[in-house]
């Protein structure tokens, strides 16, 4: 067993700032009316951690502040844990600010520890969260290592880790410091039995779990089966471009989160829904369907952008929600080993074009036609929405059922047939009688001819029972 702990030192602040458009404003988070966390702008103004709100405002009057939201921190920690699920099957949460992963089984897949650490760190950063990572043989050791790295000291040996950063409760830490003991190493050097007598069972258990003499079972998270994520903006957005233009824009942030979620679950998104909410609860929903399953955040943004060009959004957008509506198991595509020059299937998947057309021109603009085994000409074809042949439902080319015998059918059809004057026609072949539907009362009885029109077009005309002539198609 090898444990990796991810510690999010700035979680209380980053839950507010992640995904927001870039801002140069100073931000602080308060706990008990004192500054708990601040962003770089606030730090540059000279605000210290632990100072009161009044002091902070006197230093920088334009300061923005929020009170600490422990519930949403925990919620966000859950989301982060879910994102990290892609690296390991055993992910658990250590409130208030750590996520634990068992990585012993993942090392080979992710090409070793340094690579895995790097990937996990990049993933968190791309979601807008800074993290420090510790790897050790036991969960508590990993947590202690991860937490002690926040002092920008990398590779702290476990013995040097400060007591206040470990899982020891605050009372005990104070009693230890009164005794002049500040580090884990110093505590571990003391006789374990005597410590247990003085400080109680909990410390004894903690130390045993830390060094690995006692098992440390953890509750493993189960990822949620659906994806819904909301982003509440700090300042309203009025300009559409701000929503998606930069890589830090709110929509990019959400689609990035969706991508991670989809990768984790090995799913492809077939339809998603954007929700834009304004101050006065005005709500606009935009559905983005995809012809094939999608995972890539860039694709999602590109197609959503096309879709956003038409509808009117609320004037002042306050929150944005992203929901994955239809998901299906992901179908990977394999590329040929010796890729030939020029275009290949991997470069231009068939679904891309359809998605773009659907997004820009409306849902029903792309269609296929299909031949049906019917007798009446207008019933032998059907429009249908485009189906993309995939590996799972491979569509073999079906030999046409009526090849040859229908060589005398026009390539263009009029629906409905147009009335025509018989004098304009010169007959070439016929008649061919098509009669059907006598069984349900709406009998159709037509005699079809091939004729040439005065203007040169070859027509498919018919005469009905009342001797009226109709043009039903062109031999295009």
């Amino acid at each position: 067993m090898l444990w990796m702990a991810l510690h999010f030192p700035r979680l209380s602040l980053e839950i507010f700032l992640a995904g927001q458009p870039k801002t140069s404003q100073a931000w602080v988070v308060l706990e008990n009316n004192r500054v708990l966390e601040q962003n770089l702008a606030a730090q540059n103004c000279g605000i210290r951690l632990g100072s009161t709100l009044a002091t902070a405002y006197s230093i920088h009057p334009q300061l923005q502040h929020r009170h600490r939201a422990i519930e949403s921190e925990l919620e966000q920690l859950n989301i982060l844990a879910e994102m990290l699920y892609r690296f390991s099957g055993q992910v658990s949460i250590q409130a208030p600010d750590c996520v634990l992963l068992e990585i012993g089984g993942s090392l080979k897949l992710f090409l070793g520890k340094p690579q895995l650490i790097h990937e996990a760190q990049t993933l968190c950063l791309s979601l807008g969260y800074t993290c420090s990572i510790g790897v050790a043989k036991t969960p508590w050791a990993a947590i202690a290592l991860a937490r002690s790295q926040e002092m920008t000291l990398n590779d702290v040996p476990l013995a040097r880790a400060g007591l206040e950063l470990t899982g020891v409760n605050a009372n005990t830490v104070e009693r230890f410091s009164n005794m002049g003991i500040y580090t884990l190493g110093a505590v571990l050097a003391l006789p374990r039995k005597a410590l247990g007598r003085r400080f109680g069972k909990s410390l004894q258990r903690y130390l045993a779990q830390l060094v690995g003499t006692q098992p440390d079972p953890r509750e493993i998270i189960t990822p949620k089966p659906n994806f819904v994520q909301c982003l509440h903006l700090l300042a309203p957005i009025t300009n559409k471009n701000v929503l998606y233009q930069h890589s830090h824009s709110p929509m990019c942030h959400l689609s990035q989160a969706l991508e991670h979620w989809l990768v984790t679950h090995q799913l492809g998104c077939h339809q998603l829904c954007w929700q834009f909410l304004s101050h006065n609860h005005e709500q606009v929903e935009i559905l983005v369907p995809f012809a094939t399953g999608r995972q890539n955040a860039a694709d999602i943004i590109r197609l959503s952008k096309l879709k956003l060009e038409q509808p009117a959004l609320p004037d002042e957008i306050m929150s944005i929600c992203l929901r994955a509506e239809h998901v299906q198991p992901w179908e990977g595509s394999s590329q040929s080993l010796f890729k030939l020059m020029g275009t290949s299937e991997a470069e231009h998947p068939l679904g891309d074009l359809i998605d773009e057309f659907n997004a820009r021109l409306g849902d029903q603009c792309c269609q296929n036609i299909q031949a049906l085994p019917q007798h009446i000409p207008e019933l032998t074809w059907r429009k249908q929405s485009v189906e993309i042949p995939t590996k799972n439902k491979a569509s073999a080319y079906v030999e046409p059922r009526y090849a040859k015998q229908l060589s005398m059918r026009p390539l263009w059809l009029f629906n409905p047939p147009r009335e025509i004057q018989k004098d304009e026609l010169e007959f070439l072949q016929g008649p061919e009688r098509i009669q059907s539907h006598w069984f349900n009362g709406s009998e159709i009885c037509r005699d079809y001819f091939i004729a040439q029109h005065q203007l040169g077009a070859q027509c498919w005309v018919f005469v009905d029972q009342k001797s009226r002539w109709y043009l039903h198609g062109y031999f295009g």
């Binding site: 057309f357 032998t380 009526y402 203007l455 040169g456």
Partner: protein, 267 residues
Amino acid sequence: MNVQALLQHPDLWRAGQIDRPSSPRLGGVKTGYTQLDAQLPGNGWPSAGLMELLLANAGIGELRLLAPALRQLSEDENRWMAWINPPFIPYAPALEALGINLQKMLMIHPKTHKDTLWALERAVKSGSCSSLLAWVDEKKLTLKDTQRLQVAAKQGRTLTCLFRPQHAAEKASMAPLRIALHAGKPGIVQLDILKRRGSWPLHNLQLSIAQVTGTQYQSQTDMAQQLALWRLAKREGTISVRSCDEPELTLESNLQKTHSHAALLTH
């Protein structure tokens, strides 16, 4: 580089090549008509580039002219055949009978001219269409649009065909191949190549589209005569019906009626 190598350069065009406008570089899509292949640069439709078919009116064989090439292109598994704004309904059974794979056909109906041009350019540029047939609002189509399309078509390696009315021949266009179609005798289409790369325009090329696409007529007897005969038979049928005080019925329904009578009798 010696002179011989220079002379082989595909960009170099010499007047001596005037009668055989073929160049190995422009691998065209076989039209299916040997007569026409011989006249086109690359021995076929341009596999990457814009072409225009100018028609006086629809239904004179424009689709059958392209059908052999479309059949060939529809075998490409990974690319669409896009039809943008077709004026009528492409009739599925007939297309199937010509061997065109309907699953590869993509019909697109943009609502505005602007959207049409966008869709055209997007489809052509994307490289995921092997061919594209488009019908565009002629009044709004400008020279610049054709230029954009031509550039995009080269990029995406798409056989792009614009259908335009006959009078568009007077308007300038950047399409390197422009062909005017005229209706000839039934089953035959007359081509005027108005513009082609590497050679002069060509007039009055006759192609038997019915023969190549297997859509010739079985009987070429005097239709008027046949029709008259049929009429006669029909009238007799109705007369016999009239005697039964049912004046509006035709021959066919009368036949059915006698059938049902017979059925009743057997019961």
